[in-house]
Amino acid sequence: MKAIPHKRSREVEDWLRKEEVEQRKRYRKIVAEQEALSPKRDKWIAQFLQRIQTRGVHTHYDQMRKVRPEEIPVKPKRKFRVVF
C-alpha cells in the first residue's frame, strides 16, 4: 500500500494549487536559464565529441572505446532542447 485513500480538505486543495503555480514559475525560469546557456553548451558538446575520438567514450565502468570520425553524429536542424 503506497498511499491510503482519503478525502482532501479545501485547505489542502488550495495549498496544492498555490504550489502548482509556483512550480510553473520555477519551470519557466529554468527553461529561460537553460536557453541562455546554449552557446556554452555548444562548446562543451564540441569538446566532448573531440574527447570521445581521442580518449574514448565510457561503455561500462572503466571500459572505454575510441569513436571513429564517421560515427560522430551530426546536429539535426530541429530545435535542440535539454528541458522537456
Binding site: 500500500m1 503506497k2 498511499a3 491510503i4 485513500p5 482519503h6 482532501r8 480538505s9 485547505e11 489542502v12 495549498w15 496544492l16 504550489e19 502548482e20 509556483e22 512550480q23 520555477r26 519551470y27 529554468i30 537553460q34 546557456l37 556554452k40 553548451r41 562543451w44 558538446i45 566532448f48 565529441l49 574527447r51 570521445i52 580518449r55 574514448g56 567514450v57 565510457h58 561503455t59 561500462h60 565502468y61 572503466d62 572505454m64 569513436v67 553524429p73 546536429k75 539535426p76 530541429r78 535542440f80 532542447r81 535539454v82 528541458v83 522537456f84
Partner: protein
C-alpha cells in the same frame, strides 16, 4: 507521473516557507523542490525549528526523511546527520522532536504531505516495511552494481530498495576529479539533491550544493564531471538502467524507441510474450494488491493505454 522536468534547481536561492497544511505542528518550514500535480506527491527541503515537537502520527502516503544537519528525536532515539527513515503509508511513528533544530529532505512518494495524529497504525499500514538507519555511521560505500555501470569514482549507499518496482533511494558520491564521458538516459524518473559539492553535466552546466533535479524518463544527461567531488541523495521510481550513448542531440522519442529496441535484444522472450494477445494483464503471484488488474496503469494491447480498473481482490486458494 505528473511532475515536470525540473533541472537544475538550486534551493539556496529561495527562502523557507512555513508549513501550513492541516495536521502539521508549528515549527516546520519547507522549500518545494518538485510536485506531482495529479496526486500531490512531492519532494521538499525541510527545516525543523529548534524546539519542534510532533505527536505520534501517520501519513496517508509513504514518505522518506533524510537528515542533513542537526538532529531529530523519534521516541527515545536521536537521529543525526546521515539518518534515513522510510515510513510506509499509515504507519504511526512515535513522537518526533528537534530540540536544537534540523534540516533534511522529505519525499512524499504517492500523495500530498499529510500528518494525522495517532498512536496506532492505520489498518492498511505495512509496518514491516518501516526502515531507519544512519547511513553516514552504519553503511559502507559500494560501487554501483548496475550494468552497464557508471565510471569508477561514483559510489553509492543503497538506503532502500523496492523489490517490486526496483525503485531505490541512495546516497551517492563522486570522488574529486571524477569524470564520465558518455551520455545517459533511463526508463525511470530520477531525482537527486546535492548535500555538498558541485558536479557538471554537459546539458545543464554546474549543479552546486543545494542543487536538485527531477528528471522524467528518457532525458539525456552527461557527460559528467566533478572537480572537488560531491555528496548527494538520489531516488528513482523504478529500475535504473543506464542507456549509454554519445549522440548529444537525440530527443525523448528517439531515446524511448532505442530503449524499446534494446529490450527486444535484452529480454526477447518476455518482449514476445507481453506483446502477444491476452498477455497484457500479468499477475504477480507474490502480491495481493496492486496487480495489473488493480490499481496499476496498464493496457490491453489495443492502443488504449494507461487506464486502470477498479481494484479487484484476488481470491486465495
Amino acid at each position: 507521473m505528473a511532475r515536470p522536468h525540473i533541472e537544475p534547481f538550486v534551493d539556496r536561492d529561495v527562502p523557507f516557507r512555513k508549513m501550513t497544511l492541516p495536521g502539521f505542528p508549528k515549527g516546520m518550514q519547507y522549500k518545494m523542490l518538485s510536485l506531482d500535480t495529479d496526486d500531490g506527491a512531492c519532494t521538499m527541503t525541510v527545516l525543523f525549528e529548534p524546539g519542534y515537537k510532533q505527536p505520534p502520527g501517520m501519513s496517508y502516503s509513504e514518505y522518506e526523511l533524510f537528515i542533513m544537519s542537526g538532529s531529530i528525536t523519534i521516541g527515545e532515539k536521536v537521529w543525526g546527520p546521515g539518518s534515513y527513515v522510510f515510513v510506509p503509508a499509515g504507519v504511526a511513528i512515535e513522537a518526533l522532536s528537534s530540540p536544537r533544530g534540523a534540516t533534511g529532505l522529505i519525499f512524499y512518494n504517492y500523495g500530498e504531505p499529510s500528518f494525522v495524529e495517532s498512536d496506532s497504525d492505520h489498518k492498511h499500514a505495512e509496518r514491516n516495511r518501516l526502515a531507519m538507519v544512519n547511513a553516514y555511521e552504519n553503511m559502507h560505500w559500494t560501487s554501483t552494481n548496475f550494468f552497464p555501470a557508471t565510471a569508477p569514482g561514483c559510489m553509492v549507499k543503497v538506503l532502500r530498495f523496492d523489490p517490486r518496482t526496483h525503485g531505490f533511494t541512495f546516497l551517492y558520491c563522486m570522488t574529486p576529479n571524477f569524470w564520465q564521458d558518455n551520455i545517459s538516459y533511463h526508463d525511470c524518473c530520477e531525482e537527486a539533491y546535492h548535500i555538498w559539492g558541485s558536479s557538471w553535466m554537459m546539458q545543464f552546466g554546474d549543479l552546486p550544493t543545494g542543487g536538485y533535479f527531477w528528471r522524467t524518463p528518457y532525458i539525456n544527461h552527461g557527460a559528467f564531471a566533478s572537480k572537488l567531488g560531491i555528496l548527494g541523495l538520489g531516488r528513482t521510481d523504478t529500475q535504473l538502467y543506464n542507456h549509454f550513448h554519445f549522440n548529444p542531440w537525440t530527443n525523448i522519442e528517439e531515446n524511448q524507441e532505442r530503449a524499446a529496441s534494446r529490450l527486444i535484444h535484452r529480454n526477447p522472450e518476455l518482449y514476445k510474450w507481453v506483446n502477444s494477445h491476452g498477455h497484457n494483464h500479468p499477475i504477480d503471484f507474490e502480491f495481493d494488491h496492486g496487480h495489473a488488474h488493480g490499481d496499476m496503469a496498464h493496457h490491453h494491447g489495443d492502443g488504449v493505454v494507461e487506464h486502470k480498473h477498479k481494484k479487484k481482490k484476488r481470491s486465495r486458494r
